[in-house]
Amino acid sequence: MPDESPSTAMYHTPGALFARVVIYTILIIAAIYFLIPLLVMIITSLKTMGDIRTGHLISWPREVTLDAWKEAWGSACIGVKCEGIKGYFWNSVRMVIPAVVISTVMGAANGYVFSKWRFRGSEMLFSCLLLGCFIPFQVILLPMASTLGRLGIAQSITGLIMVHIVYGLAFTTLFFRNFYVTVPDDLVRAAKIDGAGFFRIFWKILLPISAPIFVVSIIWQMTQIWNDFLFGVAFSGGDSQPVTVALNNLVNTSTGVKKYNVDMAAAIIAGVPTLLVYIAAGKYFLRGLTAGAVKG
């Protein structure tokens, strides 16, 4: 390619125009590649089993039916129970809401202390807490299973809520601490001189500007906890399983005729809440992802 000056000259040579076409083609092919699994899920979930056996992955359903969705929600057999995934879906909801609220509120308070009320050793403490973002959770599974048993909350939603709060705290604290660090210390110092106390400063100065970081933290925690499988499969049983565990059991069941349309409908149902959050607040989702991942 010969010398090119930027932007203005871009389309002026045939070569540049060609490059442009290639770039758009590749980007669109990539978009199709990312969308195809979703498309396959939706198409399959709308087919009948007969249709699935005679057609192929992306053949259009001969008759569109919601039967698979009804079965996935209300009557598919998971384990010995044939009540669909609705119960497990609500388990996830009942688990996610308290876990997200408590871990976010505690994270906000911790982040506030770590950024605006530092004391001797608080930086050290923060670094130690950060380890919680990185450990592979396999390393705490056995002790946690034993502890939950001793506390009498093994295989219960309460137990899962506690586990998610404990291991979410490192992330939420990190989010809020890094956000509050950017608030000028002078604001807080002035308020202290005016006699405002710990809670008043938080309430009047920091909380009003915290909306974005609350959104980031809530979205991050919600997706993490909703999508969790490891804690769910290790610490829940029978009636307390979250939807990811139920979906895995449904997909991997080896008894009876395999109903792929029901599997796909169930998978979409399990994925819809986080997908909606992503579509509604993608910007904040990405912010949490990079903050949470680069540092954790």
Binding site: P2, L129, N248, A267
Partner: protein, 345 residues
């Protein structure tokens, strides 16, 4: 407010005021101390105290080896070689307390389990490298192309990144269906006219691990793209302009200037992807359950199977500790350099 602070009673309330931040942190501090540090030590302790060999089969001295135990071991892949020796042992009424024979057999079983674990680690390291290399290559290409003043960039970005919002169980279920050996991709390609096309990776022990890689790459590429795109947007345009004035071609500018200056983005991407790969559990569980055999087992699934399904706590705990050390070996140097950077920058 100012005059109030003057009449503020000194003493007890001042102590309280000082203590509030610490009191606020106390629950988190305790939780971290117990549930992170305490539990890691606890796992380390389990890994060293519980018999890593055969806590379940009771072939320690003085116990009889039952036929049931032997069948169970056979199902778990203990080799014929060892089983034959154990059958000899079974014929004795009670095993001799200080039997050298017994010690040898136990050693051999331990060695076999270790060999399986080594296979698992090997599987992991191959798939790990393949996963990271593919994600970086695809993510970088997408990021560079997206950075060319593309119309509808926002929409494309949203599409590339949506898999990250989904659970691996959800996307794994989709891939399991797409890769279905009979009705999935195989059927589709055959319908396109390639009647001989075979695709059985999901149930083929040589290829099963690659189905995991395919699904994992699909899920993570958008995220890698986002990291690189952020890096590209951070590059000073003046440097690029200067190179253009000097007559450098666009590919040359990318190869010599832009990609080298993405070094920090490369580093964090590799770290994040390694971290994801070492912990990967969900996707394997839903796609292959580690099978056929042990062929697609990764450390996380291996640990879970041994600790929770087979009751071999010691072995499970020690593989968890190995995962922990692997992650720490990657993360601690990285964190250290990151923290230094923020302190001195």
């Amino acid at each position: 407010m100012a005059d109030l602070s003057l009449s503020h009673p000194k003493g007890f309330f001042d102590y309280l005021e000082d203590a509030i931040p610490k009191l606020v942190l106390a629950p988190t501090f305790l939780a971290a101390l117990v549930f992170i540090y305490g539990f890691i030590l606890w796992t380390a302790w389990i890994s060293m105290t519980q018999s890593a060999l055969l806590p379940n089969y009771r072939i320690s001295a003085g116990y009889r080896i039952t036929t049931k135990a032997l069948t169970k071991m056979k199902n778990e892949g203990v080799s014929e070689n060892v089983l034959t020796k154990l059958r000899i042992l079974e014929k004795h009424e009670r095993t001799d307390k200080k039997s050298k024979f017994l010690r040898d057999v136990k050693k051999q079983i331990g060695a076999e389990q270790l060999r399986i674990y080594q296979d698992v680690i090997l599987t992991h390291s191959y798939s790990h490298d393949l996963f990271i290399a593919t994600c970086i290559a695809l993510g970088l290409i997408l990021a560079i192309f997206l950075d060319q003043r593309i119309r509808a960039e926002g929409a494309l970005r949203t599409i590339y990144l949506y898999p990250m919002a989904l659970s691996f169980i959800v996307t794994g279920a989709a891939w399991k269906w797409i890769l279905n050996p009979d009705l999935g991709l195989e059927r589709l390609v055959r319908n396109l006219g390639f009647a001989e096309f075979n695709f059985d990776w999901l149930v083929n022990s040589d290829m099963a691990i690659y189905t995991v890689v395919i699904a994992a790459v699909w899920q993570s590429t958008g995220f890698v793209m986002a990291l690189f795109l952020a890096g590209l947007r951070g590059i000073d345009e003046a440097i690029i302009k200067a190179a253009q004035v000097d007559g450098a071609s666009l590919p040359r500018i990318y190869l010599r200037i832009i990609i080298p200056s993405l070094r920090p983005a490369f580093l964090s991407t590799v770290i994040i992807l390694s971290h994801i790969a070492i912990k990967s559990f969900d996707l394997v569980m839903v796609l292959t359950r580690g099978g056929p055999g042990y062929s697609s087992d990764l450390p996380a699934t291996f640990m879970y199977a041994f600790a929770f399904n087979r009751g071999r706590l010691g072995f499970g705990a020690s593989s968890a500790m190995m995962m922990f050390f692997a992650v720490m070996a990657i993360i601690i140097p990285y964190l250290y350099s990151e923290l230094r950077k923020t302190r001195y920058a």
